[in-house]
């Protein structure tokens, strides 16, 4: 393994130029197709993907179903625009505010444009839900039914303004959706051709709203806006945080090594590693997703890690010989094996993510793993080559002059030095403390809530979070989940159906009954299902109908009608008892506490039925026959928006869709609702077998979360075992292999224990970090144990070895912990919560892993010295 670094030292210029060319080629291949798409159409341009839906593979059943249902029920992803007016006693229900709402709706309708392919994109204007674009159905004067636009034009008087509010509150479809529960705010639902345009449209809406002035407040939210906004801010974040982290790492290294020229080399390593891994990601046609955007932030510290070990060692030894080649050779001799193994374990940790069922996480794991591999190659080549290239003068004064002289040690060096004897003298108390912490952590882990919510990816003061909070306070909820119902297996046999039909026909007009029944028996022979029988009968009857005399015409017509009516049985969601079952189920949904409101076909039927009876409240019910339901629905379709019906039911009336509004987009609430619904269907049998299926973004988030949690756990356990095997192999000892896993196990246990105790949700970044901690925390243990074994051979006892261990090797580990741990602090200032989480957790993990390594390992070695070093003694002899 030293071959690589020896070659680079011998041919430093060639090494550096080769790597430089490689980096430039990668940059060109990745960037050119985006800069000049025509010329380089055979390459993949940079494409960004901020859609959490893509956490699931495109062919994932739940996603396929989601998209199928969206098109079946003509549903679009929606932006919600809430309007309040704290400056008016009636809120927005005054002429002035409503005029603004009207104008805003008119402007929103025009927010569409032709895209590059000539297709319209932006707002789906015909589906916009605003006071001026939806229909009010109400009893008019003189016993009439009336369909009119809820707000055909802005009202001119206060009375008119209030009457718009009262009209909307009467209609269950609008109450809590268009007009707030409190009756002082309005909401517009802006459907989009695709989620990708939501940021653009949201920006336009905000701009339009800002032109109004006045005391009205406009809030723009909805899952698509949150997701798209996240994507935009993600890039700002990448452009700011990653370089900032780099800068901080640079400053810290300068504090430790005091030599700008020298510390540039780790930065080059980090940069080239990031370029290579991100470049390959783009070149291979992967999208830059929320996950992959974090690759640089993960690769950078890992890339710097090994360089810090080399520099630290070089720093401590150079002044002894003043011969850089000799020092380099010594340093590489000592570090080659641990560096190789630490890189290998980190690679394994991330590569294990490829086993998760979530595509973006797989991509993330593979490319971070690649980045780590590049970082290793570049560390062992660039850093030595770089040192070899430096002019002699720049190395003067570099490094510790009297490494063992306490006077000249930094505060950090002194602290590390003091730690050694401490672990020797207090080995048992240290281990006792670890055990106690372990127990507390175990309790903490049991308290962890698995939860995520894309809106909560923004900080509390972000306008999207504010809008989310205000609108969910006032309205019945801005998070949509959809539940479809469709008939299950039919339970009545064909024989029963046949007899039923025959009975019905025999009750028709007397003059032709014998003829009808004769025809029926003839046609029914050899037929095995209802559809076929009905089709055959229909053909026969219609012939008879055409030939019928005026006397028999009515009877034949009734016979035909009887056949058609028979088919109505298939229209499951026109059956009164089914609709009543749905209405009862909706009541239950409200009682669960997770649902602010639900809308269904039953609500449409009940409302129109009530209005047909001039608004009598007791007629707010499902009528008694399938014909009455059908006629109610035809009445509804006489409105301006007849197609709104198809948001709730398919035109064959065999699949229905419930709109469920949740006040919270937390996955845990959606999950709880899903279980509550399962319970209801299990305990309350529907009048006929029904299947139910969820869809909608809120539900999809739950599905990928479940996959992620179980996937991450499997990936983590898998890589834990792989790393353990690698360690046993590296140390050629089961005891040492297990030992090396202890610090990371303790780190992860404490980490997740703390999360559980402070109530931080286990979300996507948290899940991914378990792999990072596995890869990084084991590094310190490898370095510590490898060096311990190496040193122990030179000393007579562990007590003496400890002194040496907490000299240069201890300092190297401590420097690493500080450089990388502090280097991630800038992420804490990020406006996006996942980045904050990553920053805080990486820092904490490194700190914990460093402390765990420096405290626990020597304490254990002290106690098991005879077992641990038995081999070494033999070697010595």
């Amino acid at each position: 393994m030293q071959f690589l670094s020896e070659t680079s030292v011998r041919h430093p210029k060639v090494t550096v130029s080769l790597i430089g060319v490689m980096a430039i080629v990668t940059i060109l291949l990745a960037a050119l197709p985006s800069v000049m798409p025509e010329v380089f159409s055979f390459l993949h341009p940079v494409s960004v993907d901020t859609d959490p839906e893509n956490m699931l593979a495109k062919d994932e059943p739940v996603r396929v179903f989601h998209n199928e249902m969206k098109s079946t029920f003509r549903l679009y992803d929606m932006i919600v625009v809430g309007v309040t007016n704290p400056g008016n006693d009636n809120g927005v229900f005054n002429p002035e505010s409503l005029k603004k709402v009207f104008e805003l709706a008119e402007a929103v309708k025009e927010m569409r444009w032709k895209n590059a392919d000539g297709e319209m994109e932006g707002v789906v204007d015909v589906e916009l839900m605003a006071p001026s674009t939806v229909d009010n159905i109400q009893p008019g004067s003189l016993g009439t039914v009336q369909f009119e636009w809820l707000m055909p034009e802005p009202p001119t008087t206060q009375e008119e303004a209030l009457s718009i509010r009262d009209k909307a509150k009467r209609l269950p479809m609008f109450d809590g959706t268009i007009v707030s529960d409190s009756g002082d705010a309005l909401a517009l639902y802006v459907p989009l051709t695709s989620k990708d345009v939501s940021y653009q449209v949201a920006t336009k809406i905000e701009k339009k709203a800002s032109e109004f002035g006045g005391t009205e407040e406009f809030y723009v939210t909805g899952l698509p806006v949150a997701q798209d906004t996240f994507g935009v801010e993600m890039f700002v974040q990448m452009a700011v945080s990653a370089p900032l982290a780099m800068l901080l790492i640079f400053i810290l290294m300068w504090i430790f090594f005091r030599q700008i020229t020298i510390i540039i080399s780790p930065l080059i390593v980090a940069m080239v590693s990031v370029i290579m891994s991100m470049g390959l990601l783009v070149i291979n046609g992967n999208t830059i997703h929320i996950m992959s955007s974090m690759i640089p932030i993960f690769v950078m510290p890992i890339a710097v890690l090994d360089s810090v070990h080399i520099l630290s060692e070089f720093f401590d030894r150079y002044q002894k010989s003043k011969d850089r080649y000799k020092t380099l050779s010594l340093v590489m001799d000592e570090l080659s094996a641990p560096m190789f193994y630490t890189s290998l374990t980190t690679c394994a940790g991330f590569a294990s993510l490829a086993l998760t069922p979530i595509p973006p996480v797989q991509v993330f794991g593979i490319y971070v793993s690649l980045g780590v591999f590049f970082a290793w190659i570049f560390t062992v080549t660039i850093v030595p080559a770089y040192i070899a290239l430096l002019p002699e003068s720049s190395l003067q004064g570099f490094g510790l002059t009297h490494s063992e002289d306490e006077e000249h040690l930094s505060w950090m060096g002194r602290a590390v030095k003091a730690l050694g004897p401490f672990t020797y003298n207090y080995a048992k108390p240290i281990l006792l403390l670890v055990v106690i912490l372990g127990v507390i952590s175990a309790y903490g882990i049991s308290q962890i809530t698995i939860n995520d919510n894309p809106v909560k990816w923004f900080t509390k003061t972000h306008k999207i979070r504010v809008a989310d909070r205000v609108l969910n306070e006032k309205f019945a909820g801005t998070y949509m989940a959809y539940l479809t119902l469709s008939p299950g297996e039919a339970t009545t046999s064909f024989e029963v159906q046949k007899n039923h039909l025959r009975e019905k026909l025999s009750a028709l007009g007397e003059n032709v009954v014998p003829q009808i029944l004769a025809e029926f028996d003839k046609q029914a022979e050899g037929v095995s299902n209802r559809e076929e029988l009905l089709a055959k009968l229909k053909e026969q009857f219609s012939e008879q109908l055409d030939a019928a005399s005026d006397e028999t015409f009515e009877a034949w017509e009734d016979a035909m009608l009887a056949l058609e009516t028979e088919k109505l049985d298939l229209e499951v969601f026109k059956q009164p008892e089914v609709l009543r079952y749905i209405a009862d189920f909706q009541k239950y949904l409200l009682e669960t506490g997770y649902v602010g409101k639900s809308n269904s076909l039953a609500d449409v039927v009940k409302t129109v039925h009530r209005e047909l009876y001039l608004g009598e409240q007791e007629k707010f019910s499902i009528p008694d026959s399938v014909q009455a339901v059908g006629q109610t629905l035809v009445t509804f379709q006489n409105s301006h928006r007849p197609n709104d019906l198809w948001h709730f039911v398919t035109s064959d009336y065999r699949t229905t869709n419930l709109w469920i509004q949740l006040k919270s987009g937390d996955n845990k609430d959606m999950s709880a609702l899903v279980s509550a619904v399962e319970k209801y269907f299990a305990e309350h049998a529907p009048p006929q077998p029904l299947n139910h299926n969820w869809f909608g973004l809120t539900y999809i988030n739950v599905v990928w979360q479940q996959k992620m949690v179980s996937g991450m756990l499997e990936a983590f356990l898998g890589s834990f075992i792989i790393v353990l095997i690698m360690m046993v192999f590296l140390f050629r000892s089961l005891v040492w292999g297990v030992l090396s896993m202890i610090p990371l196990t303790v780190t992860i246990a404490i980490m997740y224990g703390i999360l559980g105790l402070i109530g931080k949700d286990y979300d996507m970044p948290v899940a991914v970090l378990s792999s990072l901690s596995l890869g990084l925390a084991v590094d310190y243990a490898i370095h510590f144990l490898a060096r311990s074994r190496h040193l122990r051979a030179q000393y007579s006892s562990w007590k003496e070895t400890v002194e040496a261990m907490f000299g240069e090797p201890g300092r190297a580990i401590a420097r690493n912990v500080i450089v990388i741990g502090v280097g991630f602090m800038p992420l804490l200032a990020a406006p996006l919560v996942p980045y904050q989480t990553v920053g805080a957790l990486i820092s904490a993990i490194l700190l914990l892993a460093g402390i765990a390594t420096l405290l626990i390992l020597p304490a254990i070695l002290r106690l098991i010295e005879p077992i641990a070093f038995s081999n070494i003694r033999k070697e010595e002899r």
Binding site: D550, L612, Y613, S625, Q627, A628, T632, Q637, H640, N643
Partner: protein, 263 residues
């Protein structure tokens, strides 16, 4: 209002002397061939409503028409009796219209399963006709007096009329254009435009046949250019001059439809 539009027409007539026909006369003739031919009439209509996605829904009904003024050359008040036969659940549902030139139309809806007769409030007639892409106004005819008309083009086969509403707030279109066949005066195409000049709604006479000597649209289509949905109406068994008695068009007959007439 009337004299004013006439005035406008005269001015336009003066400004565009190239056209061989008076706009007012043209509008009147087109209105007549669309809704007033023969002395009353009957047709069996089969309506197919289809989505962009291809899902279809059917509605079958019989239309009876009677003109109040029995002088068959005039365009005056009319009565329509629309009796639904299919789908089975709306069988026997009736829609009754008393169309008035000088006042708001009277409209009734009879729902047999609820045994309920409801008047439909006067006012907006540009709502969907039983869920189709046709509006009520398309079925009974838009009163020509509600728009200003101008002849904008004359081709070898068609006069092209542009009609702008006098009360823009009462309708959803900015204006519409009518392609009127020169020989028969049948409007074969009507395009409705938004304020930005984009057409969004299209009526087409798909098939025209001569029935009892009257050129008759026997198939027509209304397309929603925004959603991609469309409705096709096929008129079968068209009969003119069948002498439908006036009392059929009363509330009493909603519950007891004249089945022989509707056969």
């Amino acid at each position: 209002m009337y004299w004013r539009s006439l005035f406008v027409l005269i001015i336009l007539g003066l400004a565009t002397p190239g056209f061989a026909i008076d706009v007012h006369e043209l509008v009147e003739k087109a209105n007549f061939t669309s809704y007033y031919q023969g002395n009353g009439g009957k047709a069996k209509v089969s309506m197919v409503i289809s989505d962009k996605g291809g899902a279809t829904r059917n509605r079958d009904f019989v239309i009876l028409r009677r003109d109040d003024d029995q002088d068959s050359a005039k365009t005056g008040d009319q009565k329509f009796f629309v009796y639904f036969t299919r789908p089975a659940d709306v069988n026997k549902t009736v829609f009754l219209v008393h169309k008035k030139v000088e006042a708001d139309d009277d409209r009734w809806l009879y729902l047999p399963a609820l045994d309920l007769v409801r008047r439909i409030a006067a006012g907006d007639k540009r709502t969907s006709f039983v869920g189709s892409h046709f509006f009520y106004e398309d079925v009974s005819g838009r009163n020509p007096r509600e728009d200003e008309h101008e002849l904008v083009e004359e081709t070898s086969n068609y006069y092209v009329l542009k009609s702008t509403p006098k009360n823009p707030k009462s309708v959803e279109f900015a204006y519409y254009k009518n392609w009127i066949h020169k020989k028969t005066f049948i409007p074969v195409k009507t395009e409705f435009y938004e304020a930005n000049g984009e057409p969004y709604r299209l009526y087409e006479a798909v098939k025209v046949e001569s029935v009892q000597g009257f050129p008759t649209v026997t198939q027509s289509r209304m397309s929603d250019l925004k959603t991609g949905g469309k409705t096709e109406m096929s008129y079968g068994e068209v009969q003119y001059d069948i002498g439908i008695p006036d009392d059929i068009f009363t509330e009493r007959y909603l519950r007891n439809p004249p089945r022989k007439l509707l056969r």
